[in-house]
Symmetry: C2
Amino acid sequence: MPIEPTPGAARAPRADARRNRDRVLEAAAEVVAEQGTQASLRDVARRAEVGLGTLYRHFPTRDALLEALLHRRFELLAERADALAAAGPPERALADWLYEFTLGAAAYHGLPATLMATLSDLESPLHAACLAMRQAGGRLLEAAQGTGDIRPDVAAVDLFALVNALGWIADQAPSLAERREHLFGLVMDGLRPRE
Amino acid sequence: MPIEPTPGAARAPRADARRNRDRVLEAAAEVVAEQGTQASLRDVARRAEVGLGTLYRHFPTRDALLEALLHRRFELLAERADALAAAGPPERALADWLYEFTLGAAAYHGLPATLMATLSDLESPLHAACLAMRQAGGRLLEAAQGTGDIRPDVAAVDLFALVNALGWIADQAPSLAERREHLFGLVMDGLRPRE
DNA sequence: AGGAAACCGGAGCGGTGCTCCAGTTGTCAA
DNA sequence: TTGACAACTGGAGCACCGCTCCGGTTTCCT
């Protein structure tokens, strides 16, 4: 009977597999930066000098690849929420965080649309990756509602949608990208209670 | 020398051509209603029982086909703006019209995105088709700003973008469609001056 | 050293948008 | 009525896409 060194623990991946995974990820970062989230996966495989099958084994879906690409960014944004909460008044923390979110959502073309689709697709790896970040935003929202700076009828999901929509606007029409800050201000004002 | 009956006037299209054009349009209405603005044009041609070449001659681009599909709707929305302006106070007219716009933008899946792209694509037939409607909305905006009900720093293009974005939210995440009215209210509040 | 499992890459399938052109058909002048 | 020609037709064809599947190779562990 063969001995399982640590039963249940996955065997470490082969060295060539790990190397290829990294190559794919690196290539994906470049290609997605150029072509957006709808980039051709064949192009990614080509740039990584790897077969298409290899790409699909490491990342069975497009979302899985994007998740790997964005994971760190999401983590940072979640941490950033806590930092902002500690650094200043709740309403300010929320506004700053949301604005940083719109900027982050513009990291790649098509990203706002991808994130939005993620909301309803519970199976997508991106859904899970977003969750912690969305919850961090939710905490900022609750704090700002606690001080009465934000209307109580605003839900976390409203925020996520609106902020993604702002990113989408800038993503779709370059001419509107420069109005991003202005539009952001308009929407933020709508979240505040009227005297 | 042959006589040109009315020189410069285009000769009437052949009967079969006109018939085929109508068949394509009818099929397109069905297929786009089912699959959205990104529907397969092959499917449209198939349903119209027409060759792909025929479809492309009558409508050289996807936008041209959509324009033909949406033209009447845009006209009605532009007229509706004038009717609302005559029927009630400017702020109410604007709010009602914008809400009808978000509903209209949800006529087909993907339509908000298509309309948004249209904004920067001056060549698209949809750009021209939207223009009159956008201008009608602009007039409502000016009137509502004249009475002080809407912030003066709101531009017509802001409105178009925000209202499209609301349509996009409902389009992307079915779960958010039911919050459409609520989100609309939030955004509208952001457009009003603070006391 | 050797064998098994993991991994690789690309051929292949069914789909897409779009072009191009040989063949057909409607129309209008003679 | 007929003939000729422009207008129109439809689908084959090209290059691309996402995704699957599998014969051959490579790595790792014993």
